[in-house]
């Protein structure tokens, strides 16, 4: 571990002890990036982007809604990736990464649903319609909650990691099935989603605002996951000497 070659070995960072300081260095960087991009994105969204010709001011919710919805789906995929890696290579850190990501994914899922409801009320005249996308988003939230509930219910860390990983993979296999079945079920309500491609110049500034916010959501997710995984590592490795040392150091710093 002390040789300089192993510094560039990815497997080196699979050890929680090696990853802990790296996460500590990276997390604040991503937090700053997230804050800067959020400010820029909101500034574009509120002051630069023009009022929509059809929907008026209400459309501005997309600057939060769309990135949140993207993130909620993407985070589940990333969790499934870490779960597969954890099961295949038997690495502890992978499961911790999946567990660190879950609350953020669930939060984005909820934000997407909540902002969607606020947008739907003036636009569709209802807070909730059983539209295919809304319904599959709701089921995705249930999958997140199920994952977090299972992970919370298991006391043994090894079993917690692996059971969570299996559930995550089963869920990932089912997400497309759920999406297409819901779409089939609700073919009647389709067509309600509004296309945002109006005049090209308008669309581009709206799009750039949305993309900046999406990048902000990415940076936020990475930062929060890294902070959370540090806590999970400390909790998991609390019997190790280096964690004791770290905890004393943290205690003295406060």
């Amino acid at each position: 571990m002390s040789t300089s070659e192993s510094r560039f070995n990815l497997y080196h960072y699979a050890a929680p002890q090696a990853f802990y300081p790296v996460a500590g260095k990276l997390a604040p960087i991503f937090a700053v990036i997230a804050a800067a991009l959020t400010l820029a994105g909101l500034w574009i969204g509120f002051f630069k982007a023009p009022t929509d010709a059809v929907q008026g001011e209400v459309y501005r919710i997309i600057f939060i809604h769309v990135p949140a919805a993207w993130m909620s789906m993407f985070v589940f995929l990333v969790m499934a990736f870490w779960s597969a890696v954890g099961l295949a290579m038997n690495t502890r850190l992978s499961a911790l990464m999946a567990q660190a990501l879950a609350p953020t994914g669930a939060m984005f899922c909820f934000v997407a649903l909540w902002t969607g409801a606020l947008w739907g009320r003036p636009t569709w005249g209802a807070y909730w319609v059983w539209d295919a996308r809304l319904t599959s988003q709701l089921l995705l939230l249930f999958l997140y909650l199920g994952y977090m509930a299972l992970v919370a219910a298991v006391d043994d860390p090894r079993r917690r990691d692996k059971a969570g990983a299996i559930l995550c993979l089963v869920g990932a296999v089912n997400v497309p099935i759920i999406y297409f079945s819901v779409k089939w079920w609700n073919t009647l309500h389709q067509g309600a989603s509004v296309s945002l491609t109006k005049a090209p110049s308008m669309a581009s500034i709206m799009l750039s605002g949305m993309l900046v916010m999406a990048l902000a959501a990415w940076a936020y997710t990475i930062a929060v996951a890294l902070y959370r995984v540090r806590v999970l590592i400390l909790e998991r490795e609390r019997h190790a000497d280096w964690v004791r040392g770290e905890l004393t150091r943290l205690g003295e710093a406060n």
Binding site: L150, I166, L167, S181
Partner: protein, 221 residues
């Protein structure tokens, strides 16, 4: 194949010896079905419209109710560990247990479904489609449910946790199952729904025993 037959026979025998348990999940199905007219009113047109969906949801919940029994007893008395240690393929006896679960919980429910459908004023053809869709769809519930039952084995709050894990995964089955009757009534024909349910059975037959075996190994470690 011997192991398959032996486990199937054993589980069927155990289920028969404690047949009160089976009656409970059957009674649960009937009662849940009967509650809906009280809730939404007994207007025949409305009952006809909601009947297939209500019976499907009731079947789904009644399946959920019996799922935790799938491995719990064997887990408590150590049989499960012995079976995992045995040289027989894990997937094989898991399939036997799931088949036994389906035979003991879903088949009685299928037999009583036409009767329940009459209470919702469904006509003959719709009753046939509903029963057929339940016959094809309930194996998926048992197969997916087995993974959930294996994951939650011996955990506190197991029952409610199992529901949270498994119910979102049941949604596609519910959609195609209840949808088949609507498709039949609207004149499109239920074959597309039935084929999709059949595909679901084959897909879950291929994947879920493997996931279930992995989950059982983790849970008994």
């Amino acid at each position: 194949m011997n192991a398959f037959a032996a486990i199937l026979r054993r589980d069927m025998l155990l289920a028969w010896r404690s047949r009160a348990d089976l009656l409970i999940s059957l009674a649960f199905f009937v009662i849940v079905g009967c509650l809906f007219p009280f809730g939404v009113g007994a207007e025949p047109n409305q009952l006809r419209a909601i009947g297939p969906g209500v019976l499907w949801v009731a079947a789904l919940l009644s399946c959920l109710l019996s799922l935790h029994r799938l491995f719990a007893q064997d887990y408590q008395d150590g049989t499960l560990e012995q079976m995992l240690l045995s040289p027989d393929p894990t997937v094989l006896w898991i399939l036997a247990k799931v088949l036994a679960h389906w035979l003991t919980t879903a088949v009685p429910l299928l037999l009583i479904t036409p009767l329940m459908a009459l209470m919702f004023d469904l006509e003959g053809g719709a009753i046939q489609v509903l029963t057929a869709s339940l016959a094809i769809g309930t194996p998926i519930l048992s197969l997916i449910g087995a993974v959930g039952a294996a994951l939650t084995l011996g955990l506190r709050g197991g029952g409610a946790l199992l529901a949270l894990l498994v119910l979102p995964l049941f949604v596609p089955v519910l959609i195609f199952g209840a949808g088949s009757v609507d498709a039949y009534l609207s004149g499109t024909g239920a074959s597309a729904h039935m084929l999709l349910l059949g595909g679901g059975v084959l897909g879950s037959l291929a994947l879920s025993p493997v996931a279930c075996a992995a989950a059982l190994r983790i849970s008994t470690e």
